[in-house]
Symmetry: C2
Subunit: 264 residues, 2 copies
Amino acid sequence: MQPSSVKRNLRILVSNDDGITAPGIHALARELRSIGEVTVVAPDKQQSAVGHAITMNYPIRAIPFFAEGEFFGYAVEGTPADAVKLGVRFLLKDGRPDLVVSGINHGSNTAINIIYSGTVSAATEGTILGIPSMAVSLTTYGEADFSYAARLAARLARLVAEKGLPPGRLLNVNVPAIPEADIRGIRLTRQGSSTWDDTFDVRLDPANREYYWLKGRLNVTDIDPEADQIAVQEGYVSVTPIHYDLTDRGLLSEMETWGVDRLR
Amino acid sequence: MQPSSVKRNLRILVSNDDGITAPGIHALARELRSIGEVTVVAPDKQQSAVGHAITMNYPIRAIPFFAEGEFFGYAVEGTPADAVKLGVRFLLKDGRPDLVVSGINHGSNTAINIIYSGTVSAATEGTILGIPSMAVSLTTYGEADFSYAARLAARLARLVAEKGLPPGRLLNVNVPAIPEADIRGIRLTRQGSSTWDDTFDVRLDPANREYYWLKGRLNVTDIDPEADQIAVQEGYVSVTPIHYDLTDRGLLSEMETWGVDRLR
């Protein structure tokens, strides 16, 4: 495929989980417009840690959202997966997108965080709908400069458009929040296995009833440089190919000896 | 381990996504009480299709819930993953459970539904917290008799307690909603690859503004009898070992030739 034809025809659906007002999605949409036709369909408000939630018991709406007086995209009253589903199945009336790009998330989506991530969920929904998809996150919860991450996302998006992705597979990209000059490169990685040391803060409301607030920190137990979490800590952009076939074939074989079939 | 010691000491946390009032969790808790000490910690209301959502931006509460005048468990204002996390990290003050059992869901969690499932998410959270866990679903959205599924869940739970599960692995169990006499057996399965043919119903509110309602049906493309979806259709209980390491190692190798490292 010629780069010029890619540039002319590429149709990109952009979503996220931080909501349509978040700086990360504006930086991403701006850069992606240099490689294709961008439609933004994103949650109307912050939806972090919603996992792969979809809204079935309530209807959803999509409201045109304007930035600096211009139409920017559709604000969906729903989850990231809702936004992508509604975008692909209904709003993009002229045809299916060639790519779904989700982000740029304000915060890392490495290791166990992939499971909780609305950013990854939006890209997963794109993949379920048969569209090559990727999720992009910037690994800081503090002040964020999305410019390098957005430029890299556009380059990767173009590569994905050229190479294609096998059915059921997507890319999860994490960009270290360090100056561009300090980025050491891009590393193909696997999902790390670090999890959270979390606890609940116990507080009292004005009527003296207890309530609980989740707090914690990622307990980094990964050491392998091929783990996404270690790659970003070492100053590399991590690119992890993921899928949603959750079958554990190792345990499946092992369980053949359990006599499960005799349980009934 | 002697069955009698299992029976005496087993501590089981029970959760679900249909909420603490749902018949499926009452049937499950009743049967599990015959093999161990049960604590129910479940969402206070229906949480289907919430995926692996957790609540970080708001506090949560846990209210004692009574059934027929007796304490039944804790109703958590939150998601299934919240309930399990709060149960393990805070409410079960006497110690960690030996097992987490989630269900019995009213509706199947086979194929792509595993990704959206709050029932599976509760068990996944148990696994993340290092506890052998399983999710149990009954494959009907209509009238449901949970009695056989609950008895089977108890037998499987006991087997899991005896055999243990490797870290990061859990079981996803689906029970066909047919008379017990028609159940053909128990089959070890893999996650099917069927997805939804979904569309949005477009409706108008009283002020003539559009809103959208997700509808659809599972498009069964699986044919392999080892797929969970086919097993339950053929009258077998499906038992699928799953994990949450989403890395796709096949694509990871293939991408070595992409020159991703030269993108920067």
